[in-house]
Symmetry: C2
Subunit: 217 residues, 2 copies
């Protein structure tokens, strides 16, 4: 599949590299087409990767991964352009962490709204699926790294077929079907984004980011 990865940070690089390892082709999108990190990504995956600005990448992708910093995601998607996004699945793995007031970050959007919802409201003709935003990016694409791959991840979104597509991608990343919990519509992104402060606290207390939680009952 032709996939757009918006964002050139660790998350975008990790997601893009995994998608390429799985046989997809990836265009990495950034604010400017000559982004150095995007160039380095292309150099490492020369057969399968290209780079462009947000609009180039969004136009290219059949599916869009939003791996931009959460506080800049709406602006990045506006630069990507509604016409390049409409009708497509946007897998939103960003968190609206606001570092402007120091550490720990607060959430720029929370409680009665979420980044996932805000993207869906801003681009009503897209199919936003919130996923993977509850863990370190290394685990997103390699869940078998811990606990034999037996731990929990979530999807939420308004479009059932879009969530099924995302589940297939998650399974290709190594997620067990039984551990992918569909929380419901895109308002359920609130919970997964508001989990971030607890994630950061656990990380701070344990000095280990390679953790996740497994629902037990």
């Amino acid at each position: 599949m032709k996939i757009a990865v918006l964002g050139t940070g660790n998350v975008g690089d990790t997601i893009g590299s995994k998608l390429i390892a799985l046989g997809h082709t990836v265009m990495m999108g950034s604010r400017t087409a000559d982004n150095e990190k995007a160039k380095a990504f292309v150099d490492r995956h020369v057969e399968k990767a290209t780079a462009g600005n947000f609009a180039d990448a969004a136009s290219y992708g059949e599916i869009i991964f939003n791996c931009t910093a959460g506080v800049g995601s709406i602006e990045a998607l506006k630069l990507a352009g509604e016409k390049n996004l409409n009708g497509k699945v946007i897998i939103d793995i960003a968190n609206p962490l606001d570092f402007s007031k120091g550490m720990p970050p607060s959430l720029a959007i929370s409680n009665t709204n979420s980044l996932g919802e805000e993207i869906q409201k801003t681009f009503p003709q897209t199919k936003v699926v919130k996923a993977l935003n509850t863990m370190w990016c290394g685990l997103m694409v390699n869940p078998t790294m811990i606990n034999g791959g037996d731990h929990s991840t979530f999807v939420s979104g308004n479009d059932t077929a879009a969530k099924e597509k995302v589940k297939e991608i998650l399974k290709s990343f190594g997620w067990l079907d039984k551990n992918i919990l569909d929380l419901g519509d895109i308002t359920k992104a609130r919970g997964t984004e508001m989990y971030l402060p607890l994630w950061l606290s656990i990380y701070g207390a344990t000095n280990n980011g390679a953790f996740n939680f497994k629902i037990v009952s």
Copy 2:
């Protein structure tokens, strides 16, 4: 030990009953001394339980459990009275869930503050420890009900000795030492309270409240 349980709902009743089963004596506190639920609690535990208003209970207890509804906790503790609380450990297991705008509830305090912090700021001579607020009350006092008791719980607070006392109580409830994670100071209550929307989403998706999460790494 003589323990005050503030709040007569399911949480207070569950915590109070467990404390009595463990040999403690409990005074249940409520807004009015003639609260029907408190009377019923005393009738079920006639040898070990008494009831009174918030001030009576706070005066009685060597340790205070805050099991009031989170949006009313500050007012309840003000009724309990600073002089009856000062110097004592307050185990805050409440969540500031605001149901006034319908379901799902939002949080009345969140992101850059928390109920745990607000209690500590309002009563600076107390030792507030946030604990147990991330699960259904049945599991708080009976963790062995699921997964052989092997799942995670948190404490946060500014006073190390107070947290140690709370850990001892948690262990008496059946929590394994390895699963009680000290997140740090009372600001870490933000994360455990902000987890509630995700908890509610998981509950909604699974129709089962008897779940918890286990940190795996």
